[in-house]
Amino acid sequence: MSAAEVRGTDAVAIRCRGLVKRYGDVTAVAGLDLTIARGECFGLLGPNGAGKTTTVEILEGLTAADAGDVEVLGARWGRGTDRALRERLGIQLQETQLADKLTVAETVQLFRSFYRDSHSVDEVLDTVQLQEKRGAWVGKLSGGQKQRLAVACALVSRPDLLFLDEPTTGLDPQSRRQLWDVIVRFRTGGGTVLLTTHYMEEAERLCDRVAIVDHGRVIALGSPRELVASLGAAHVVEVATADATALAPLEGALAALPGVRGVRLAAGRASLTVAEVHRAVPALLALLAERGAELSDLATHHATLEDVFVALTGRHLRDA
């Protein structure tokens, strides 16, 4: 390890520059840069197919990049220090199915045996609240329990850096909150987390900083609060009319309403980013009444990362 790399370990957990990965004609990662600080919970947010998993697997040393430079905890992959580096990582992969015919405790014990310094099976099962399932076969667990077990296998190594690839995808809200608690507890102990997700609520709740990824590139970077603030307005008003064609001619008029910062029309609906809902909504209703357009739906919510993604790409995260 060079002196520069040792200094790098002080504050930076992950640094990558110009990451590129192609699969045939498809470019999964197209020149991606990231710097993640120690102790940070960093989120890669983006739709399916954005290149999140490929990026994470390159950082984990499981996939070789076609170009770019990766530094993880001050070390680089393939320099003879891989095994020592792996001792310090905790990894949960998106697609792994653990062996169905092993029990929860046996699975953790197996993963535990790979590490020199590790938590006991009981410690880690307590952490993920699977103690009462310790004797159950993995195949009999619910989706949420399987995910918590996968996280337990990642945590058993006492990692400095935890990689979680869509840990809560497909889980019910309660299971999701249970996993969030586990992640929060890990962070309290000083751990660094790199998390991928396509749930903006999850990113807002857990992450210090978020990189929004689309088509293999970072298109926005900052804390969830900063990213939402970049919309220039804290609220979103969604409106639809009975006659789906009624809104299109009104785009200019909608944008001119008091407190409206942006207008987006799609599929007969208008989505307004709004600074002051109490001024914009009455003006909106008056405008529609004046033009004789019958309102069929009106909803307002606080602006989220989803709205940031929509503003940046014109697509929604989940159907992008």
Partner: protein, 343 residues
């Protein structure tokens, strides 16, 4: 010690196997059922009387009386067309047409028909007063080791070592690969050699049970013994099991789906089930393909197992087949490791 990755990996292989009832049946139950069924079907019996028909007509009673003296023949009088039908369908081995000369009608490609010719001719000549110039004495014995079941048990053992070695490794590797479990293991500091070696260890533990059940079954039910030393038998079994685990590793080294590896396994094993002398001697195949047949790992293993179980051969005498089995194992293992796909 219990926390050594090799031990934990081996334990997980063992658990994955014995918690799968189908796998346990195919490895332990099936060969025993097969041995039992074949042992019953081909059990050694006293030679049955040969069915012989005498065509009804002039002089038939005299012929029936002359043949009646032989205890190897079961004689019945038949109308000419009925006799012809029974001969054609194999219900009688031979048809005697009385007259001068007596005509023996039979299919010369059938072994029992040719036996019947000898018996019938002999019985007719003796009844007509032939005297034998040379005195002959018969002495009947039943040798252990010469029965079909004695041939079968070592063959089934070889086949079982092949099947469980290849499936045990191949199926587990490919299913771990499909489930991305191999990739997950790679994300830990686990040594790859530990993973592969754990298959060998778990195979060896099961091997003891496999060999003991099948050989024990043969011994208890059919009185099939081991003429050579048990140590040699165990050594050969270990060698065979490891060699076929190596071949299983090679077959599974790149397959991405369980379906693909199943097809490959059958492609590799099917020719050996037929050619390698498990159920019948491979000497029946033409000379031209004998070198190929003998070079197959299962042929060599079966030869070696029969050598020690039936002929009581010592290990030194089995150097040829042992070298073939070991060669296959080592070559497959080396190539399998080289081309192995982890991701």
């Amino acid at each position: 010690m219990r926390d050594h990755p090799l031990i934990q990996l081996t334990l997980s292989q063992l658990r994955g196997f014995y918690r799968e009832p189908e796998a346990v049946f195919w490895v332990f139950g099936f060969p025993i059922l097969l041995a039992f069924a074949l042992g019953i079907a081909f059990r050694s019996r006293g030679a049955e009387a040969l069915q012989v028909g005498v065509v009804a007509g002039a002089g038939d009673s005299a012929v029936v009386a002359m043949l009646g003296g032989s205890r190897h023949l079961a004689v019945q009088r038949l109308a000419p067309d009925e006799g012809q039908r029974r001969l054609a369908s194999g219900r009688v081995a031979l048809l005697v047409v009385p007259g001068d000369p007596v005509t023996l009608r039979y299919d010369s490609t059938r072994t029992e028909s040719r036996l019947a010719v000898l018996e019938v001719a002999d019985a007719l000549q003796r009844a007509a007063g032939r005297r034998d110039p040379v005195a002959v004495q018969e002495q009947r014995v039943t040798e252990r080791g010469s029965r079909y079941i004695d041939f079968l048990i070592p063959g089934l053992l070889g086949m079982n070592l092949m099947g469980s070695g290849m499936w045990g490794v191949g199926f587990a590797v490919v299913s771990a690969r499909t489930k991305k479990l191999l990739k997950r293991f790679l994300a830990t500091p686990m040594r790859r050699s530990h993973y592969l070696f754990s298959f060998m260890l778990s195979r060896l533990l099961f091997l003891v049970i496999e060999v003991a059940t099948l050989v024990g079954f043969g011994w208890l039910v059919f009185d099939v013994g081991v003429r050579g030393s048990i140590a040699t038998l165990v050594l050969l079994s270990v060698l065979g099991s490891l060699a076929f685990s190596g071949i299983g590793l090679l077959v599974a080294s790149r397959a991405k789906t369980v379906e693909a590896v199943s097809g490959l396994m059958n492609l590799v094993m099917l020719p050996m089930w037929v050619l390698s002398g498990t159920f019948f001697s491979y000497a029946r195949f033409p000379d031209a393909i004998q070198p190929v047949v003998r070079a197959l790992p299962l042929t060599a293993l079966n030869d070696a197992l029969r050598g020690v179980m039936v002929d009581g051969a010592a290990l030194g005498a089995l150097a040829g087949p042992v070298a073939i089995v070991a060669g296959w194992g080592i070559a497959s293992f080396v190539v399998g490791l080289k081309v192995f796909r982890w991701g």
